[in-house]
């Protein structure tokens, strides 16, 4: 076999495998545009007259409210996590505390702490305080869940800031706030984007805490989708439409920021 045939074969195989792998997403997208009778039929159809009925049905079930809650929880969680992570990461990279390794271990051990281990007390405390089903409370908890990753990631970016720049600022008499926010931070904006992306993705997709700590007013999208499990009759088109809407923001964000994604997922370890 010549190198060229080999290459063509490998490329063809790659595409076949990639398309098989992507198929469930494609099928979800397609089913969302099918009339219910075609989507829920035992004979899969690729050709059909597209309709927006599935999407309409999803919004008839009140989906916009859940989406707004998800957006609120994710955006606030991201904001809080970033605001807390920037100074903390700075104290672990440029203006260091004594025990950097200890602090890093502390952060990461809280990330590895199973949510199952903390959900009971959180539930009890929030119940006592009448704070269950509150979207801002959920946002604060999400910020806590994602803060360790944000700190680790921001740190890996701060470490790349040339120390001469910080030094020069100090010589010029820059205070700590100026040193961080005017000198160092503009150099690590990709890091901020990375940390924000990961926090947003994990908050938007989170199901366990959302289903336990919210019930109606603050219900987010994942538990709303989960409620389809108890559905009766035909619902594949509306489910696919709702899933498409729910998944789309993160899919698009992830597609745009592929580079940040790798670094974020590895907590800054892989550049």
């Amino acid at each position: 076999m010549t190198t060229r045939t080999k290459n063509t074969l490998a490329t063809t195989a790659t595409w076949i495998l990639v398309l098989i792998f992507f198929f469930p997403v494609f099928w979800m997208f397609l089913n969302g545009f099918k009339p219910e009778s075609i989507a829920s039929s035992a004979h899969p159809r690729l050709i059909f007259t597209p309709t927006l009925d599935g999407f309409r049905a999803a919004f008839d079930r009140g989906m916009q409210g859940y989406l707004i809650n998800s957006l609120n929880a994710s955006l606030w969680a991201t904001l809080i996590a970033i605001v807390l992570a920037i100074p903390a990461a700075y104290a672990l990279s440029i203006r260091r505390v004594k025990n950097v390794e200890g602090a890093l271990t502390f952060f990461i051990s809280t990330r590895f702490m199973p949510l199952a281990a903390v959900v009971l007390p959180l539930f009890m405390i929030l119940k006592t305080l009448g704070l269950l089903d509150n979207i801002y409370v959920l946002a604060i908890i999400y910020a806590g869940v994602n803060l360790p990753v944000a700190v680790w990631m921001m740190r890996s970016f701060f470490l790349e800031v040339p120390f001469e720049i910080i030094e020069a600022a100090r010589v010029d008499g820059a205070g700590l706030a100026r040193e961080i926010f005017r000198i160092a931070l503009p150099l690590v904006l990709p890091g901020v984007a990375s940390a924000a992306l990961i926090t947003f993705i994990f908050s938007w997709n989170e199901y366990f805490l959302a289903s336990l700590l919210t019930s109606s007013a603050a219900r987010t999208t994942p538990p709303f989708l989960g409620s389809f499990v108890d559905g009766r009759g035909q619902f594949l088109a509306v489910l696919s439409a709702a899933s498409t809407i729910a998944a789309l923001p993160v899919i698009i964000a992830g597609w745009i920021a592929q580079k940040q994604l790798v670094r974020g997922l590895s907590m800054g370890a892989i550049k």
């Binding site: 290459n7 490998a10 195989a13 790659t14 595409w15 398309l19 792998f21 992507f22 198929f23 469930p24 997403v25 099928w27 979800m28 089913n31 989507a39 004979h43 899969p44 807390l84 992570a85 100074p87 700075y90 104290a91 260091r96 390794e101 602090a103 502390f106 590895f112 702490m113 199973p114 199952a116 281990a117 903390v118 959900v119 009971l120 007390p121 009890m124 604060i140 360790p148 030094e167 100090r170 010589v171 700590l176 961080i180 993705i201 997709n205 199901y207 366990f208 499990v229 489910l239 899933s243 998944a247 899919i251 992830g254 597609w255 994604l261 790798v262 997922l265 590895s266 907590m267 892989i270």
Partner: protein, 310 residues
């Protein structure tokens, strides 16, 4: 690094090096404190409360009958016969999903490391399963892939005259592992692809010149190089999958050997309303996670201390 940092502070600002150093540490602590406090409040303290709960007899159905019971909840957890299978389910689901997604991830990383037309598009499509909301992914698989009537997998089986499978009831563990593998393969692929692209091309060329075939170059040079990336992927993936809840709740509701610790705790606490026993499962989950995470941490630090990975 700390030493060199202070050493390079110019004399003009450092009248007394030790005082400057001390002030710096105080400022640094001030920067770190809010984040640490926030986490202590949200995770450390609740976890201590969980340990407290686990030592108390407390069923919300019998609010009067409440008091300290020592290790009774752990005894109940051990003797009720739920804990062993649950640990097994957690470990099996985690191990199988991680191993399979590393293998598939490696395959796709190798395929996508070659230059070909539309590579960027292929990569973009490949990462999508990881980005799909896990609840949506589980539902889509449950109804449009696994379903006995309308699922694509069974349509394929019927078309090939193979027996139809009731995936989530006949093979619950396989069902959960399939969905998790599908979601985590892109995660592994991204990490391994970064590893492949960080390879020294000169060494690969030298190996070719020396007459090492593709296979030998792969096993002798590429695989050892990838080792660290595999470790990062396995450990980060394992820590996430250990806690997995969504696919279990949606696909199997914990039936057929898929009742992971997270799901068991949920069942005991929010359906059985037994706070004490559920808390005991929570503590067990933490112990299991610590075992995995300790290994994970050691690796992560090794990677970071080696100066990142490039």
């Amino acid at each position: 690094m700390t030493m060199t940092d202070t050493d390079t502070v110019p004399a003009a600002t450092a009248t007394d090096p030790r005082r400057v150093k001390k002030g710096q540490f105080r400022a640094a602590r001030g920067l770190l404190a809010p984040a640490v406090l926030f986490l202590v409040l949200l995770t450390q303290i609740p976890f201590l409360v969980t340990i407290g709960f686990s030592l108390v007899k407390w069923n919300l159905l019998y609010p009067q009958d409440r008091g300290f019971t020592g290790l009774d909840n752990y005894a109940t957890a051990l003797t009720s016969g739920a804990l062993g299978p649950s640990i097994l389910a957690t470990v099996l689901i985690t191990a199988l999903s991680v191993i399979l997604s590393v293998l598939f991830g490696l395959l796709f990383a190798l395929l996508l490391d070659r230059p070909f037309r539309g590579r960027a598009l292929a990569r973009t499509l490949m990462i999508t399963p990881f980005l799909v909301m896990p609840a949506a992914a589980a539902l889509i698989w449950k109804y449009s892939m696994f379903d006995t009537n309308i699922g694509i997998l069974n349509w394929v089986s019927r078309s090939l005259h193979l027996p139809v499978l009731a995936w989530s009831t006949d093979h619950p563990l396989l069902t959960v592992v399939t969905v998790l593998t599908w979601q985590f393969t892109p995660f592994m692929m991204l990490i391994l692809l970064a590893g492949l692209q960080g390879q020294d091309k000169g060494i690969l060329e030298a190996a070719q010149v020396d007459g090492a075939g593709t296979w030998r170059t792969f096993t002798w040079i590429t695989l050892p190089h990838l080792r660290m990336y595999v470790e990062i992927g396995v450990l980060l993936g394992a820590v996430i999958i250990l806690q997995v809840f969504d696919p279990i709740a949606i696909l199997t509701k914990g039936t057929g050997g898929t009742k992971t610790l997270a799901y068991l705790l949920y069942e005991r606490a929010f359906i059985g309303l037994d706070v004490g026993e559920a808390a005991a499962y929570g503590v067990v989950t933490v112990i299991l996670t610590i075992i995995v995470a300790t290994v994970a941490l050691r690796t992560l630090f090794k990677v970071f201390m080696a100066g990142g990975s490039r």
